[in-house]
């Protein structure tokens, strides 16, 4: 039997995708289904799993009355959700810093490439080394930051003690946010902004200059609208990443503490899975994160387009 060429092509097509598709089925599609099943199951990895219906989600999202007041069934989960949102408040500052660095690097001046490399260093370094470095810098008794702070305080006549950066509830989250800003500002986002800036047609600036526009006007009336797709993309990715972040910092630097103040959803999932062996409950938290991320993506599709100016070039 002779095969038609279109049939040959179809068979070839299936053969070409086969290795990848087999892996996709086994390590992506099947696990997604399995994880959905897990979220309705109680399982400690040792005994056999038990179907518990919606119990995991009732515990996760439900409330009950206690002495007349509404109390969450799982206060720790809500606390971690709050922590995750809190830590994400640095995102706008990160994005502004990235944009500022990109604007500066986009100038045609000497030494720019050196700075580009320097700003990018934290992004290519393994995160554990970075976390250890900041863990040391934030050390209460012997850390660099407290040396600088105490020194500055003394020079204006205040005899101060160092701040408990990572070991006090008040400072732990801001400390992680400052570190996050340091890591993120010169990373992928800066490069994306740089690409967007280089994509703005020069004629627009030239025309504006002839009309007598200053730098300020040129930025707000040309640059900002022209790069809005990049800004939008960067913001969305940062938010999606933010909901899944904070694991390594918690693991290396704070252990999620003090008083769970730096435990994010991701670290909570890890603890339920690995430390407390609540496989089903871990899966239900992971699905909660998925729903949040999914809703944000939907909102972006629906409303994002109106905020963004797509160029006609």
């Amino acid at each position: 039997m002779k095969l038609k060429s279109s049939e040959k092509e179809a068979i070839a097509g299936y053969l070409f995708i086969l290795p990848n598709f087999a892996g996709f089925l086994l390590f992506t599609l099947f696990p997604v289904i399995l994880s959905f099943v897990f979220s309705f199951v109680r399982w400690d990895l040792l005994s056999s799993p038990a179907f518990v219906g919606l119990n995991n989600f009732m515990k996760l999202l439900g409330f009950h009355r206690e002495a007349g007041a509404l109390v969450a069934n799982d206060p720790l989960f809500w606390k971690c959700f709050g922590n995750t949102l809190y830590l994400m408040m640095i995102i706008p500052i990160e994005i502004m810093a990235s944009l500022m660095l990109a604007l500066v690097i986009n100038q045609k001046i000497k030494g720019v490439n050196f700075f580009k490399t320097v700003f990018f260093l934290p992004t290519i370094t393994n995160g554990v080394a970075i976390c250890l470095l900041w863990y040391w810098i934030y050390n209460t008794d012997f850390g660099l930051l407290n040396s600088l702070v105490v020194n500055a305080a003394r020079s204006i006549g205040i005899h101060a003690h160092g701040i408990s950066w990572l070991t006090s509830v008040a400072w732990a989250k801001p400390s992680l946010m400052i570190m996050g800003l340091w890591i993120m500002m010169g990373g992928y986002n800066m490069i994306l902004f740089l690409a967007a800036l280089q994509g703005v047609p020069r004629e627009l600036y030239e025309a504006a200059e002839i009309d007598g526009a200053g730098s300020w006007d040129k930025f707000w009336r040309i640059t900002w609208p022209m790069i809005s797709p990049a800004t939008f993309f960067v913001a969305v990715m940062a938010i999606i990443g933010g909901f899944q972040g904070g694991f390594m910092q918690a693991y290396i630097m704070t252990g999620g503490g003090p008083e769970h103040s730096t435990t994010t959803l991701e670290y909570l999932i890890y603890n339920h899975l690995y430390s407390w062996h609540n496989v089903g409950y871990a899966a239900s938290i992971a699905w909660f994160v998925f729903v949040v991320v999914f809703l944000i993506t939907l909102l972006n599709w629906r409303f994002g387009g109106k905020l963004v100016q797509y160029s006609h070039y």
């Binding site: 092509e9 290795p19 370094t125």
Partner: protein, 294 residues
């Protein structure tokens, strides 16, 4: 006469503005550069201090340059923890995963970009849809699968689940779509098989995209943390990041030897920085490529 004067004034003003702009630019660059470099310098400085001298807290005299330089940290660190073993593990896992992922992605991407077969577009949409799913959703069942397979604490668990990615397929498919079809048509007329077209036409034309994906995958695997942490137990199987975390855990109940820890951290950092310096172009191009199209 008067016009010339006005023009001269505008010119002077513009020049003054340009100077101001340059000063501001350099000020921001310098401030940013110092902020980025100081912590790294502190890392180098600490790594050259002996155990005792790290804990001298004299705020008036922060020792950026150690009074006595202790090179021994860089020798001792290899003895305290088996960093050489971690390095070998990381290099082995990283190479296999990168090769496997680039190869399977390229094959699938070619089929998705060029070959017609029933269900192709639906399948591709399925790939895209799963890219939105948070890693932890799939990580939990894959972890339980590993323990059912008995793969925990083996290279299989470190390598096999990491080989397949929808992301790599997507990236290369987008790139293959931009290639002109003329060459392929010519090769077809000359009697070239589909494999021949893929191997001799498509791949050589896609050097940049393949290099970009290679760098992304290898860097991502090199620094990956949570997965290796979950599936390794014994020291012999740990990769570099996990090994470094293990090194820190050794000091759980004592004041860490910060000099050694920082030396260890630097030992894990420096090679990748060198690799980056030589491949910077691909990094930057790659980010632009994925950022704009992703």
């Amino acid at each position: 006469m008067r016009e010339e004067k006005t023009l001269g004034r505008i010119g002077r003003e513009r020049r003054r503005k340009n100077v101001l702009k340059k000063v501001l630019t350099y000020a921001i660059l310098a401030a940013g550069g110092v902020t980025m470099i100081l912590p790294f310098l502190w890392m180098v400085s600490t790594s050259l201090k002996s155990f005792g001298s790290v804990f001298i807290f004299d705020v008036k005299d922060i020792q950026w340059i150690p009074k006595s330089i202790c090179w021994a940290n860089y020798i001792d660190v290899w003895k305290v923890v088996p960093f050489a073993r971690f390095y070998l593990n990381s290099i082995f896992v990283c190479c296999v995963v990168t090769f496997g992922q680039v190869a399977t992605s390229a094959l699938a991407a070619y089929a998705f970009a060029r070959l017609k077969f029933p269900g192709r577009d639906k399948l591709f949409f399925g790939y895209l849809a799963t890219m939105m799913i948070p890693g932890s959703v799939t990580m939990i069942p894959v972890f339980t699968m590993m323990s059912v397979f008995g793969w925990i604490d083996s290279y299989k668990a470190l390598i096999i689940p990491a080989i397949f990615s929808a992301y790599g397929t997507f990236l290369l498919r987008q790139f293959f779509m931009t290639l002109p079809r003329d060459l392929e048509d010519a090769a077809k007329i000359d009697g070239c098989s589909l494999w021949g077209i893929f191997w001799r036409v498509i791949l050589p034309l896609s050097n940049t995209a393949l290099a970009t994906l290679t760098i992304f995958v290898s860097l991502g695997n090199w620094v990956s943390f949570m997965w290796p942490l979950l599936v390794t137990n014994s020291i012999e199987k740990k990769t570099l990041p996990i090994g470094l975390a293990y090194f820190q855990e050794m000091y759980q109940y004592a004041q860490p030897d910060w000099g050694l820890l920082m030396a260890g951290s630097l030992v894990t950092m420096v090679p990748i920085i060198i690799v980056f310096l030589f491949n910077q172009r691909f990094f930057i191009e790659g980010i632009k490529l994925t950022g704009i199209k992703g």
